[in-house]
Structure formats: structure tokens, C-alpha cells
Symmetry: C2
Subunit: 197 residues, 2 copies
């Protein structure tokens, strides 16, 4: 495929992205995609054989970008610094978007868990990678004495992700930063040992 | 409306309920509802003027039932007992359903926050009531010295709900009880004071 073809392919994914994020995958129609891209049906179907393929490619790209975001966010001189930079980074990102669209991976999890195995598998893999990265950081923080150690690093990583997903959901629903902010503040208050508070 | 009419109306809601929960509201079509109920289009539209009205009535009924479930679950001789019975009750309920469908209110929050204000308002009101009930229990537990008090009861109630919603999401996605179980166990480990562990 030439550069123009690649551009069109990417344009479809980018335009689809906002629709999927805000309306959800199921509620986005091929007609919506044609309107948003300005393409003909023939052109759209030249690049993707169905809506699922657009959704899966978008999810793949978003997952890759998210891993980069995580690697950039999980920086710092100690484990707690890294965890803290990530928590603040996640809040800042969603707050800057006024929580519109929420978390793509959380949305996809809820929309596809029981009905679309390909999407669910890719989403589960993204959460798995995310959990792995957080586990390493929390383990480091526990070894340094910065994070409580009455639960394993893996359990705490899973707990942090669940709490953030629920916090994003509540902030999005209430159109307010308060719920996610409270979740981040409470995580900090509960997980960090006294020397880091 | 006679008894038969009321029966049909309720039958539509009950059949719609499982479809909405598993497929999501947007992905459930009028055709799906006709197949599930065995009714004609004329009969369905006699009872509800559109799919939204079925969804809203279902959500209203589900919210009422959930408040009863909460009142039954939030029992015990102390605040911590009440909170613990609720946490275990929530896990037992979702586990008994193998996490199929997940949490209706969480699903609806993610599906409708940015697109369907009537649904979002009703869902937000349900979470608001839930948070109020949990806040009272946690406040009692804090006064009795059973729950940590470095965060307000209201903040902890919001935090508990967010964590449970995220835990249900992860268990549903991974088709495993482990994530939600870990969230409940971690909440117990972090929130209860030493005398209750």
C-alpha cells in the first residue's frame, strides 16, 4: 500500500477512535464512520473488511501508545516516586480531557467481555501488561520500605488498577474530577508508609 | 391497564434485562427484544414508545431492588460487621453469576455518561444513594474504632465503590473470581484497624 493508502487507513482509525471512545463501539455505525471520514463506502471497505477490524486495529494502536505512556509515567528515583508519578499522571491525563470518553480499555472491557472474544482478549492482554509494569514498581517500593507489604505487589497492582478504573468511571458519570481525585488521594494515604506521607 | 397488560409490560422488562446486561443497551435491538419476548412489534410499542423507555424503566426497577439488597447486606452488630457483610455479599452475588453481565450500574455509567443524559442521571442517583448508605456504615465503624480514620467516611465510601466496580470489571473480563476477591481482601486489609483483622 502506498503512502496515501496508509494515510487513509490511519485517518479511518483516528476518526473512528473518538467515536468509539465517546459513543462506544456498538453504538458507532458504519454510517457514523463514513460521515466522520468523508469517505465512500467502497473506500472504507477497501481498507477494512468490517467495523470489527477497525476497532481491533484501533485497540492495538491504543494499547501500544498506552504502554509508552506507562513507561514515561513510571519514572522516578524510588519505587514510591515512580508510583506517585504514575498516579498523578493518570489523573492529570483524564482531568485534562474532562473525563470525556473515560478509559478506552475499561469501556472495551465492559462492552465486550461477554460478547466479543477478540476484543476481550486484546483488552485483557493490555491490563495484564499494565499490571506487570505496576507490580515491578510496587515491588521495588516495598523493598525500599515505601509501600505497605501486608499484601503482595501483584495484588496491590491489581487493586490500584481496579480503583483507578472505578474512579474514572465515577468522574466521567458525575462530570467531576472529585471521584478520581479522591481515589488517587486515598490510594496514596493507604499504600504509602509513614515516611512517604 | 389490566393485570394481563401489566404482566406483559413486566415480561418485556424482564426479558430486556438479561439482554441489556450481557450485550449492553446500545447493542440490543428492537428485533432482539421481539425475539426474546415473542411479541409483535405492535404489542411492544403499545407498552413502551421506544427502547429508551424500556431501558429507563428497567434501570428504575433495578435501582430499587439494589437498594433493598444493600439494606439487607448492610446488617451486623458493629459498623465493621455491616461493612464486611456487604463486601462479602457483593462478592458472593457476582461470583454466583460467574461475573456474567457484571454490574448493571457500572455498565450503564460507561455506556451512557457522554451520550444519554436520562440514563446517566438515573445511574448517578443510584451510585449517590449507595454512597450515602455506605458512608453511614463507615462513619459508625470509624466512631467505634473499627475502620481507619485518616480519610473521611464519605471519601472511603466512594473509594470502596470505585474499587468494587473496577474489581467486577476485571473479574468479568478475565472470567475469574480472583480480581474481585483480591479487591475485597485488600479493602479489608487496608481499611480495618488492627483489632478487626
Amino acid at each position: 500500500m502506498g503512502i496515501k493508502g496508509e494515510d487513509t487507513r490511519q485517518k479511518i482509525i483516528d476518526k473512528a477512535a473518538e467515536l468509539f471512545l465517546i459513543k462506544g463501539f456498538n453504538a458507532t455505525s458504519i454510517r457514523d464512520l463514513l460521515e466522520a471520514t468523508g469517505l465512500t463506502k467502497g473506500c472504507l471497505y477497501f481498507h477494512f473488511k468490517c467495523k470489527d477490524d477497525i476497532g481491533l486495529e484501533y485497540l492495538r494502536q491504543a494499547s501500544e501508545k498506552f504502554m509508552l505512556f506507562l513507561d514515561q509515567g513510571l519514572q522516578g528515583s524510588s519505587g514510591v516516586d515512580k508510583l506517585d508519578n504514575f498516579l498523578i499522571g493518570a489523573f492529570t491525563y483524564h482531568n485534562s480531557r474532562d473525563f470525556v470518553g473515560g478509559c478506552l480499555f475499561g469501556n472495551t472491557a465492559l462492552e465486550t467481555s461477554d460478547t466479543a472474544p477478540d476484543f476481550a482478549k486484546l483488552t485483557a492482554a493490555t491490563f495484564h501488561q499494565w499490571r506487570g509494569k505496576l507490580t515491578n514498581i510496587i515491588q521495588q517500593a516495598q523493598e525500599e520500605g515505601g509501600v505497605i507489604n501486608n499484601r503482595t505487589a501483584e495484588d496491590l497492582a491489581e487493586f490500584v488498577i481496579a480503583t483507578l478504573e472505578g474512579g474514572i468511571m465515577q468522574s466521567r458519570l458525575n462530570k467531576s474530577e472529585a471521584p478520581m481525585k479522591n481515589c488517587v488521594e486515598t490510594l496514596r494515604a493507604l499504600l504509602y508508609t509513614t515516611k512517604n506521607k
